[in-house]
């Protein structure tokens, strides 16, 4: 059994109201050595959801209550990045396009070959792992950034914005030596090997704010 980052077990979550299909798909996935769980409705899946879940979601479009497409968009709104594979009995092109545009990994039209599903799951796992790793990296940078003092955070913002020590000193009304000390502390605490490394980290934890705007914080 594969584990992602040693914590959550990678699982394929199958959501279909037809229990026979759920059973069939789980049987197939298990025969391929994967862990599978099935849910008969979108509501049931959301009820069991926790952020530690890893793997991917195989969703039928036609579901009682919240349908597959709605569940997919709900997940996106709640920033749940679990990769989604959509399946349907009648694939019309607009629906396929909509699903793929919304970020579905694959759109399968029933009945499909085992290879099609397994390849899609493999693809979804790869994506999930990448997303998870990226998420972990951000978390560790975030943790490191939290060890900085208020002054060090200020200095880091100016440094990543491209200001020289002298300019920062003028900006904060401190002497250049003090700035140099703070800067050394920042580099050490953030485990940054170079200025470029520090800039990258800053971008990762503040992806929406350009590094130029940090100074006002």
């Amino acid at each position: 059994m594969r584990r992602a980052n040693g914590s959550a077990i990678e699982t394929v979550f199958v959501v279909d109201d037809d229990s026979a299909i759920c059973a069939g798909l789980c049987d197939l996935l298990e025969s391929a050595g994967l862990v599978a769980r099935h849910f008969s409705s979108a509501e049931e899946f959301l009820g069991k959801w926790n952020p530690g879940m890893a793997g991917c979601l195989v969703l039928d479009v036609r579901l009682p209550g919240i349908n597959g497409m709605e569940l997919h968009s709900n997940l996106l709104i709640s920033q749940i990045t679990l990769p989604v594979i959509i399946m349907t009995g009648h694939g019309d092109m607009p629906m396929v396009r909509k699903a793929l545009k919304a970020g579905a990994v694959e759109f399968l039209i029933k009945p499909f070959q085992d290879e099609e599903l397994l390849q899609a799951v493999e693809q979804a796992y790869t994506l999930d792992r990448a997303q998870r790793q990226a998420g972990d990296l951000v978390n560790s940078i975030q943790a490191r950034a939290e060890t900085l003092t208020a002054r060090e955070r200020e200095v880091m913002a100016f440094v990543t914005a491209g200001l020289t020590n002298k300019e920062i000193a003028e900006e904060l009304c401190l002497c250049v030596v003090t700035i140099k000390l703070h800067r050394g502390q920042v580099m050490r605490k953030m485990q940054a090997r170079s200025l470029a490394d520090l800039v990258k980290m800053s971008e990762r934890i503040n992806p929406h704010r350009g590094s130029c705007a940090v100074g006002s914080a």
């Binding site: 026979a20 299909i21 049987d27 197939l28 050595g33 009995g89 009648h90």
Partner: protein, 517 residues
């Protein structure tokens, strides 16, 4: 009483009185006096020449008075003559006494004179009565002549008005004799056809009709002539420039007083626009029904597909899993067996879906009636007529004689023929030249009856031939692919068979139905 009225009455009475006095008093007196005086004056000189001249002259005077003055003048003349003769000529002369020997003479004179008066005045009276009668007759004749002249003029005027009216009506009008031979056409009809009045007379009238409409119209016309009833038909009439337009042709018989048909009046009403509208409505209707059929078929197909997809997806997954369980090292036989069980289960479920769908379609009532296939085809052609005209297709029938009656569901078999005919007509939309759809029937003896629908369309490829009777196979962009599939299922339900062949001219769809024993 008012004084004025009284005065007027008096004047009137006086006038009438004076007129009466003149007529019966003064005028006869004057006439009698004149004649008698003239006779008297002539008697004196003549007295010396001949004996008793007064006899003739006074007779003449009496006759003249009676002739010109009537009875009264005559009698006055007799009286005056008698007195004068007595006085002047009968002795004793110059006295009114009469000698005894002359009394008989005078009496004879008076009697003769009275007789002459009566005869003369009666004659005169008769003559004037005849003249009066003649005058009256003449006046009456003149009056009648004038009347006749006047009514003649009136008739001419009304005829002119009628003709103007027939020319003013923006419709084409004709008149035919009792045998249906056209005698008169109005200007509109002549202008439309571009021919002369002669070119439309008699049988040649049918030449302006479309060749396809002419036989049926002529048949209907003959039937109307025989029955003496109203005639109405729709037909295409050729315009001067060769274009055919649709007309409603109506004929109404006019009967003479003895009930015999005297002549026929006809009118042609241009219904080209109406025809187009009808065609458009029909075609819209057809499109709509085809569309709704396609939609319901699509919906049905989608729901059947979904129903079947569910078990298929499950069974495909289990089957794949089964294969994988057997391929893993070491093989997991128990999981493989469980998956195989599931496969069997899902196959059964898929089978149930198919059975359910079939039972859904199998709800039609079983009908078998002894039916004349040719009659069915003739009815069908009536149904197809408008469609065929719209598509420019002529339908030809070649119906076999002595066809045995078949025990079939007439509605279903007609549906088969309808589907095949419409297919055939649609296949000919693209082709140039004559579009002919031929429907044939033939008795095959013990084998049954064969019916075929032949078109001269593009035909089909060998690839299509193999699957053309399968459902959902269509070469048409809007086709549902159910037409031929339905045909086959109907024919097979009748224990018959249906197939298609390519010929030099086009495609033949043929089916054979068995004769019931």
């Amino acid at each position: 009483m008012r004084p004025g009225y009284d005065a007027r009455m008096t004047v009137l009475t006086r006038n009438r009185l004076s007129g009466w006095t003149f007529q019966y008093g003064i005028k006869p007196c004057a006439i009698a006096s004149c004649f008698v005086l003239v006779a008297l004056l002539w008697t004196f000189p003549l007295q010396h020449v001949i004996a008793y001249p007064f006899v003739f002259l006074f007779f003449a005077a009496v006759m003249g008075s009676a002739w010109f003055g009537g009875f009264i003048a005559g009698f006055l003349a007799v009286a005056m003559s008698s007195v004068l003769i007595t006085y002047f000529f009968i002795p004793p002369l110059f006295s009114i006494t009469v000698a005894k020997e002359s009394q008989s003479f005078l009496a004879a004179f008076i009697l003769s004179a009275i007789a002459i008066t009566i005869v003369s005045s009666a004659r005169k009276h008769a003559e004037s009565a005849v003249r009066n009668a003649r005058d009256q007759l003449e006046a009456k004749v003149q009056e009648r002549t004038a009347e006749l002249l006047r009514s003649n003029l009136e008739i001419q005027a009304s005829e002119r008005q009628l003709r103007m009216l027939t020319e003013a009506i923006p419709q084409q009008i004709w008149r035919a004799d009792a045998f249906g031979r056209v005698e008169y056409c109005n200007q509109h009809l002549l202008e439309y056809t571009g021919g002369s009045a002669d070119s439309l007379q008699g049988e040649s009238f049918f030449n302006i009709l479309h060749a396809e409409d002419s036989p049926s119209l002529s048949k209907g016309w003959e039937a109307a002539l025989a029955a003496g009833g109203k005639f109405e038909a729709e037909a295409r009439v050729q315009r001067a420039d060769g274009v055919y337009r649709w007309f409603l042709i109506r004929g109404i018989p006019q009967r003479s007083q003895d009930g015999q048909i005297a002549r026929w009046y006809g009118i042609h009403i241009d219904i080209e626009e109406r025809h187009h509208t009808q065609e458009r409505i029909l075609s819209a209707h057809e499109d709509l029904s085809r569309f709704s059929r396609a939609i319901s078929l699509a919906e049905m197909a989608a729901s059947i597909a979904h129903e079947l997809n569910q078990p298929l997806t499950a069974l495909v997954s289990h089957a794949a899993a089964c294969r994988r369980w057997l391929r893993t090292e070491p093989t997991n036989v128990s999981r493989a067996a469980a998956a195989a069980d599931k496969v069997v289960q899902e196959v059964a479920r898929a089978g149930n879906v198919v059975t359910r769908v079939r039972s859904l379609f199998g709800k039609t009532d079983y009908v078998r009636e002894l039916t004349d296939l040719n009659g069915l085809i003739v009815d069908l052609v009536q149904l197809l007529r408008d469609d065929a005209i719209r598509r420019g297709v002529s339908i030809r029938l070649q119906l076999g004689e002595d066809l045995p009656k078949l025990e079939i569901d007439p509605v279903q078999i007609q549906q088969v023929l309808l589907n095949l005919s419409i297919n055939g007509m649609e296949a000919m939309t693209e082709i140039e030249g004559p579009r002919i759809l031929e429907i044939c029937t033939k008795a095959l003896g013990t084998e049954g009856v064969a019916a075929s629908v032949t078109d001269c369309g593009a035909g089909f490829s060998e690839r299509v031939k193999a699957s053309m009777f399968e459902p959902f196979v269509s070469t048409k962009s809007e086709g549902t692919g159910m037409g031929l599939a339905i045909c086959r299922s109907i024919v097979e339900a009748h224990n018959g068979r249906i197939w298609a062949e390519r010929t030099e001219r086009g495609t033949v769809f043929q089916f054979v139905l068995k004769v019931s024993k």
